[in-house]
């Protein structure tokens, strides 16, 4: 059985999914890649937007989410913690 993701893990999954797509991704794609429902994603995106980890970019009818420098720095810190954990042979 897979363990429930923490709130923090979900934020990381959202940011990583944006980062993997050259730092810019449509909302529907985030839903799919971060494995979330539309309504749940709304709540998480509100927080990420208010904290400045991502910003909204509207092009015509489409809305994109762009990873900010703050978001990139945060993911960099997470990757460092991941490396420490994996050096001990415990997956992150």
């Amino acid at each position: 059985m897979k363990a429930r993701r923490t709130k923090m893990k979900i934020y990381i999954d959202i940011l990583r999914s944006i980062q993997k797509d050259r730092g810019k991704l449509k909302k529907t794609h985030i839903v799919h890649k971060a494995n979330l429902t539309h309504s749940r994603l709304e709540n998480y995106m509100d927080f990420l937007l208010s904290e400045g980890f991502v910003k909204r970019d509207k092009k015509g009818r489409e809305i994109f989410f762009i990873l900010t420098d703050k978001g990139r720095e945060f993911l960099g810190e997470i990757n460092k913690l991941k490396k420490i954990s994996e050096a001990f042979g415990v997956p992150f």
Binding site: A3, T6, K9, E86, A87, F88, G89, V90
Partner: protein
């Protein structure tokens, strides 16, 4: 059995324990951060393991220094807390260090999924039995130097646990082949050597020195791993 410590080395061991405890606290801090994100029990065990190990080393560092200061104050002949048959502050501190370290190693064993091997119950029962034996025998201990008579049991139990942890980290290094996993493997192996040399510290003062150099090397490897990642 007694421990031979060269006089010129007095105080160096306290400094080494102190530095090692700081490195341990740094690692416990990182594992706390990791645990708060992942909510994984294995990270919690590593956090608690490093926290208890650091607390034990800090207590040992202070007690050791206190003993050396007391020793330098009585130049001719005097009885220190650790050399009489009264259960003193030093005896309590050393036993606290033993207890905290063993608890930390048990946490590390849990972090390495020892339950997969059905050993967890064995280790918990063994650990509790060890504590019960110590608490039963302590009041009837005829030998002076209460804590000295227990240090070899502590190092022997630690040696077995560290042997297992080193083995798991060798496997991890073979699988990952990364510098980080190499440094962690080296760290656990040198802490294993620390306990091994300590057991034979009744033979020569050099065994005691080698034990502490090994401990310092082990913790330095852990610090190097963290610094390398944080760079």
């Amino acid at each position: 059995m007694h421990i031979l410590i060269p006089v010129w080395f007095h105080g160096f061991d306290s400094i080494m324990y102190f530095i090692s405890s700081i490195i341990g606290f740094i690692l416990s801090f990182y594992f706390y951060k990791i645990y708060s994100i992942s909510n994984e029990k294995r990270h919690l065990y590593l956090y608690l393991g490093f926290l208890f190990l650091s607390m034990g080393l800090l207590i040992l560092s202070i007690t050791n220094l206190f003993s050396y200061i007391a020793l330098s104050n009585c130049r001719n002949s005097c009885l220190l807390g650790i050399t009489d048959n009264v259960f003193s502050f030093e005896d309590f501190s050393y036993l606290t260090y033993f207890g905290l370290s063993l608890f930390a190693y048990v946490m590390f064993l849990f972090a390495y999924r020892i339950k997969e091997f059905k050993f967890s119950k064995f280790f918990i029962i063994g650990f509790l039995a060890y504590l019960i034996v110590i608490s039963i025998l302590l009041p009837f201990n005829e030998e002076p130097r209460v804590w000295h008579s227990y240090h070899e049991y502590f190092h022997l139990v630690s040696l077995i646990m560290m042997g297992f942890l080193s083995f798991r980290n060798i496997i991890n290094y073979i699988e990952k082949k990364s510098l980080g996993s190499l440094l962690v493997m080296v760290a656990f192996f040198f802490i294993f050597l620390f306990h091994l040399f300590h057991i034979f510290s009744f033979i020569s003062g050099w065994m005691y020195i080698l034990a502490h150099i090994s401990m310092m090397t082990g913790f330095s490897a852990l610090l190097l791993m963290v610094l390398r990642v944080k760079k």
